[in-house]
Symmetry: C2
Subunit: 350 residues, 2 copies
Amino acid sequence: MPVTLKELAARANVHPSTISRVANNDPGLRIATATRSRIEALLRETGYQPNGIARGLKMRQTNVLAVVIPDITNPFFAALFRGVEDAAAPRGFNVLLCNTDGLPERQRSHLQSLQARRVDGVIIASSFLKDPSVRDLRRQKGPYVLVNRFSDEGEDPFVGSDDLLGGQLATAHLIDLGHTRVGHLAGKSTVSTGMLRRRGYLAAHAAAGFAADPDLIVEAGYTEESGTAAARRLLSLPDPPTAVFAVTDMVAIGAAEVARQMGLRIPEDLAIVGYNDIPLASRVSPGLTTMHVPIHEFGSVAARLLLDQIESDEPTRRRVRFTPDLIVRESTVTGTAKSQRSARPRVSAE
Amino acid sequence: MPVTLKELAARANVHPSTISRVANNDPGLRIATATRSRIEALLRETGYQPNGIARGLKMRQTNVLAVVIPDITNPFFAALFRGVEDAAAPRGFNVLLCNTDGLPERQRSHLQSLQARRVDGVIIASSFLKDPSVRDLRRQKGPYVLVNRFSDEGEDPFVGSDDLLGGQLATAHLIDLGHTRVGHLAGKSTVSTGMLRRRGYLAAHAAAGFAADPDLIVEAGYTEESGTAAARRLLSLPDPPTAVFAVTDMVAIGAAEVARQMGLRIPEDLAIVGYNDIPLASRVSPGLTTMHVPIHEFGSVAARLLLDQIESDEPTRRRVRFTPDLIVRESTVTGTAKSQRSARPRVSAE
DNA sequence: CTGAAAGCGCTTACAG
DNA sequence: CTGAAAGCGCTTACAG
């Protein structure tokens, strides 16, 4: 058992409250220098650390945040988590990590147990559209921030990318390369990223003056496995696409694998664009053309939005949306085409 | 503010302790059915959740574990973390995640703050040999488990692989293929995995009847970047190796990249073996030959070892060591060579 | 069958 | 300059 205030008080022959004040460097404390140094010596000698639980109960603050994501083995969420921790640790917060595997029920039960633990705030990267769990959170008035996916547009503090624009740019890139049959490995329509990127895909077609073939849109989910399954269906069509925009890099990588298995050359027989620019995207061969978003910053900005709420005790509805940038690699353009990318990610905050 | 026991007591016209007993389903509680159902209705209506902080203070248990790792963006640690959470969540524990980036100082400060938070136990995957932080932990007598890396052999509860054997098998595979100049991209000699895998590398040479060339051993650390730098040095030697055993898959992947940049064909000009069999290993091209270890199980077994200590209130020195299995892929054997692998990972527990 | 009390380990407004 | 007390929200042995 670690040493307690009461024990120290007994050893120093003072009241526990005095030890507490010295340990916490109470600025308003007038104390005899002799007493102070006696106490400080004792503190050092015992390596006293106040019991965080007792402290948390009294101060109504745990200094713990939580991050709720679908799956940490997805590199996107791993990078996002690092962003959160890198922003939270210097401010004295530890971070709980909860994986939902995309199941609303697991999200709900995690959120419930986080509430029971009285974490100071939570960052959610796993929300659905019109998510009941998010609405509960909104009602409870505890600090939270949504990241990457929103639930009800504009209703919650949010950090993410402009997914509509991103979907449009990705698809326009393929159309610009001359492709007329562009497929879409779509996200779920129950998730904001899935819905908006699909809408962007359609908008790019409209802007180019022709309609997308509905048969070329296949729901692919968000895992590599569901991506491969969907890609198999898409590429087995009688009249398959010559290019595909995948809702995420993981899905794109799954599709590339399927293409390889079917003997298709990338990009000659099938061009592929992903989304997010996870580290893996530049490492696979051929390199994956994708929409770059600042993943680590998603996490760190979300953490700052959350910590500001906690410290100010004021809720916010601020939204930070990053503009995604097209990164061209070998999965769409053959040969030595250079990666092109605008100088700095532009941000729109509200 | 969430509802409290006292408020509920006032509304139900009973003593707070009675509410507590009903909420916790106290088996020894004799209570009038009318009172019970009145209280239960109130509990349901308010969705009462006991304050976990107050509960933790009273019960001296937080139901929180912590995992300390170098970096969650390394897929090895992401998989390991999932193993921990998957075992801990069903038993009612949440898990804090702390990244150290391999810095002893950050490990120390994380451990200190975890102790202040009174987490019920900690799993450490970032320890060094003769690690002072681990020795502190040992002295404090709070539950902990080391995973993947140990500090002082046999002194702590541990889950990992037989790294000496693994290093030997990996290297023997290359020697068996006819390579006589086999390089080693080594881990740090201050880390158990680095030390033992290197020793295995040397043992395989001894068993084959010839000595390893010391010039072919280059310290490569544990990140892809440090791996590429080391690989560059190794492959730029006047008389470079024709094969290399890398301490981890991430380092092996870095080496493969360098080889490609230098125009070397894999495996014809350079054969590569990694360690861990992270998901990425089978996905890169050419597929990476590697030593398979059950990463997810590392986490789940470590969690069980930890939870058993917590629940029994008995420390342990149990060690679980998995036997690594060679997985042969295209980075060492050209053509359609099948992955070979023994049926089940063998385990040695003590 | 239910209540009153003590206590987990802190912090802080209030006394003196 | 330092102490005594109250209270954060629970649980549980003890009364009655």
